[in-house]
């Protein structure tokens, strides 16, 4: 079941289309990576999901009904540009934002104390926000975003400005929320964390959606029949034999104990054909398929889409 259905959304700013006929679906209970280069239209889409701006054409459905203001009050939203009242005391401010989300005073206090403890920022409870470091402010904002345990959560660049330790803390929180049944839309440029925590992705470039799907499925779609074979000993004939059989040797890496071959298998051959050659000329240590990284898919797909678009023009 999809919690969010975006149908043929177009958003115009004057003559410029920030989003052009974009459709996508966010399955319930997944971590959804919203990817794309700077200025692609990710934030515009997110702002429409939060009903901060409205589409000129198309419609957004939330839990099978048209998205309404009441829906957004249930959501959690961490905007890309963070902001808090600078002069207000940290604890007071967190209480205020949590209570605006509908938590009772006691409940908000209880949960905030626990989270402040967990994030190690309890001593800042009575300090004004302007005395906090940027990372600390981000933590506060993240806490107030998730405190009311929203079933749907939008995080726009949540990791920017965090050190590795805090990034991990955040990832754990996201995993925890997911295990509790929340759906999380994540916009980020950090492809490593996308591979780590996202189940689903959509790639937007120049106002168009160019890719969408389950992350494993996407990776398989763009795999290039690349394999890695590690051997402990090999015959000098191996390289020549590979070439004779139309296998393309991309890389050969000697790491002391093992030598690693990276090879592309042509359409006409199978994995077994390759292994037979290796069995004949070497002692195989390991054999793996190399799937493309999200980073590679991102760059390749964006460049390709740019070329077609330029070509169309």
């Amino acid at each position: 079941m999809n919690i969010v259905e975006v149908q043929n959304i177009t958003k115009l700013y004057g003559d410029f289309a920030a989003l052009d006929d974009v459709s996508l679906s966010v399955p319930q209970g997944c971590v959804f990576g919203l990817l794309g280069p700077n200025g692609a239209g990710k934030t515009t889409l997110i702002r429409m999901l939060m009903r901060i701006t409205f589409p000129d054409m198309g419609e957004i459905f939330f839990k099978n009904h048209p998205l309404s203001a009441d829906d957004t009050y249930e959501m959690g939203y961490l905007p890309e540009e963070r902001g808090l009242y600078k002069k207000m005391k940290t604890g007071e401010q967190a209480m205020y934002l949590s209570r605006l989300k509908g938590l009772s005073k006691d409940e908000a206090y209880k949960r905030l104390r626990a989270k402040f403890e967990q994030f190690g920022i309890m001593e800042w409870w009575n300090k004004p926000v302007e005395e906090l470091s940027k990372g600390m402010q981000q933590k506060i904002q993240f806490i107030t975003t998730i405190l009311h345990k929203p079933s749907f959560l939008i995080l726009d660049e949540p990791f920017s400005g965090f050190d590795p330790i805090n990034t991990n803390l955040l990832k754990e929180e996201i995993a925890q929320l997911k295990s509790e049944g929340a759906t999380i839309v994540l916009s980020t440029h950090n492809m490593a964390s996308v591979e780590e925590i996202c189940d689903h992705i959509a790639l937007i470039n120049r106002s168009h959606k160019i890719l969408e799907g389950d992350i494993f499925e996407v990776k398989n779609r763009f795999k290039k029949n690349r394999f890695s074979v590690e051997v402990s000993r090999f015959d000098a004939m191996l390289a020549e034999q590979l070439q004779n059989h139309d296998f393309q040797l991309v890389e050969q890496l000697d790491s002391g104990h093992y030598t690693r071959f990276e090879i592309v298998i042509p359409q006409t051959k199978s994995n077994n054909d390759l292994l037979q050659l290796f069995l004949q000329y070497s002692d195989i240590h390991s054999f793996n398929e190399i799937l493309p990284t999200m980073n590679e898919i991102f760059i390749e797909q964006v460049e390709q889409s740019n070329q077609t678009q330029n070509h169309e023009k």
């Binding site: 540009e81 963070r82 509908g102 107030t144």
Partner: protein, 444 residues
């Protein structure tokens, strides 16, 4: 939902009244105000207590000999002879001042010699008495009448205009237009300052949330309208709190002073202050006829105008004026990205208010003229202009019409601000043109 609006109101209110600047201004203002009232009275008292001077008059013209009047502060003695010799001896003989009057047919010239301190008021006391004596002499010599006769004649010729208002029931009420003018001007100024101070706080608050981007988070929790109402009401309560504390604190301090020094506020002393230091003479109708028991009755006697109406109108124009300006300012804060840009938009609405202040003297001298009338009808100027006019008395229909127009305009302002604010706070970058804003107004 209501709960959330209340939450916003209490945040806006609490964060502001907890500020140091708020607390300082709230406490300091009444103290300054009371000091302005009390200090002149105390100075007069000090004078009365401590000052007694003996003056030795050396009059070469002989006009003034034995003509100076002794009073509580000054005692005059006379001597003739060599001035240098007298100066040497006089101060040893317990005189404080030697007054030398030179014989000069052209004009009256005199020297006042003193050693330690020149007693305050001595100079003017001597000048006044000399003028009087000289004038009496002139009357006697040239017109051959005495002073009493002259005063009587002058009383006959004197005109003393009293303004009397006839109210609806045909009753007559005596006003003193000077007091009314002063009171009206004060009310108008207070309204002006309150509007400017607190409406610009609304603007800054809206702008803070917008530039902070915290508004994006807030809007995912509450409706823009709740945010707007919360801010405007919260800041209005801050203003009211300040006003109430000012009034209560001033009253408390005055009561305290009166209890501590009961003799401080008696009519004759206040009158002495009025005429001596302020240069403004209290009218007969105000405080001389009725001997007030305490300071409050005395203050009330100043404003023997329709007090209830004035208070009602003051509260009305305070609230409506504030709401008109704060909604418009909030709309302004929502369309700009920084404070300096906001002036371009607030200018057209602030200029009428400043004009109203500029015209306050004209309005108060001619409260029924066309300028006063129209300024008290135009909603952007009426809060100030009407308050200036009111103590001098306006027709009931004029007051009601002015209030009606202001209310109608307020409804328009709320509609306008709601439309603009909702879109404005979410729009960054390019400043919207008036044309764009007009487009927003038509959006559903």
């Amino acid at each position: 939902m209501k709960n959330k609006t209340f939450l916003i109101i209490s945040r806006e209110y609490l964060t502001r009244i907890q500020k140091k600047s708020f607390i300082i201004i709230t406490i300091l203002m009444p103290i300054l105000l009371v000091a302005m009232i009390v200090l002149p009275v105390m100075l007069v008292m000090l004078n009365e207590k401590n000052q007694f001077s003996r003056v030795l008059v050396v009059d070469e013209s002989e006009i003034f000999i034995n003509n100076f009047q002794d009073n509580n502060h000054f005692e005059f003695s006379y001597r003739s002879g060599d001035i240098e010799q007298i100066k040497k001896e006089a101060f040893d003989q317990d005189f404080d001042v030697v007054l030398q009057i030179l014989d000069n047919s052209e004009s009256l010239k005199s020297n006042i010699y003193y050693k330690k301190n020149l007693p305050s008021g001595l100079e003017s006391e001597i000048e006044n008495q000399m003028d009087d004596i000289f004038f009496n002499q002139l009357l006697q010599d040239s017109l051959h009448i005495d002073r009493a006769r002259y005063d009587h004649l002058q009383d006959l010729a004197k005109s003393d205009a009293v303004t009397i208002q006839i109210d609806e029931k045909g009753g007559e009420k005596e006003h003193d237009s000077d007091v009314n003018q002063l009171f009206g001007m004060a009310c108008g100024m207070i309204i002006y300052f309150i509007i400017i101070i607190f409406a610009s706080q609304v603007l800054r608050g809206v702008l803070e949330e917008k530039t902070n981007r915290i508004v994006e988070v807030l809007i995912s929790s509450v409706k823009p309208m709740q945010l707007l109402i919360g801010k405007i009401v919260g800041i209005a309560l801050v203003g009211l709190t300040q006003l109430v504390i000012w009034i209560a604190l001033s009253a408390a301090i005055l009561v305290g002073i009166q209890l501590a020094v009961p003799s401080l506020f008696t009519p004759d002393k206040v009158e002495a202050v009025e005429s001596a230091s302020v240069g403004y003479h209290l009218p007969d109708s105000a405080s001389i006829d009725v001997a007030p028991d305490n300071i409050f009755q005395m203050i009330q006697n100043y404003f023997s105008v329709s007090f209830g109406t004035i208070i009602f109108a003051f509260i009305f124009f305070f609230v409506v004026g504030y709401l008109i300006y704060s909604t418009l300012y909030a709309a302004t804060g929502s369309v700009v990205d920084n404070e300096s840009d906001s002036q371009q938009y607030t200018m057209p609405i602030t200029i009428p208010l400043i004009l109203a202040i500029v015209f306050v003297p004209s309005i108060s001298t001619n409260p029924d003229g066309p300028l006063a009338f129209w300024l008290s009808m135009i909603p952007l100027t009426s809060p100030v202009a009407m308050m200036v006019r009111l103590p001098s008395g306006v027709h009931a229909w004029e007051l009601l019409l002015s209030m009606g127009i202001a209310l109608t305009f307020l409804v328009f302002c709320i509609w306008f601000a709601a439309k603009v604010y909702r879109i404005g706070i979410m729009t960054y970058g390019k400043k919207p043109s008036w044309k764009t804003i007009f487009k927003w107004l038509r959006e559903k």
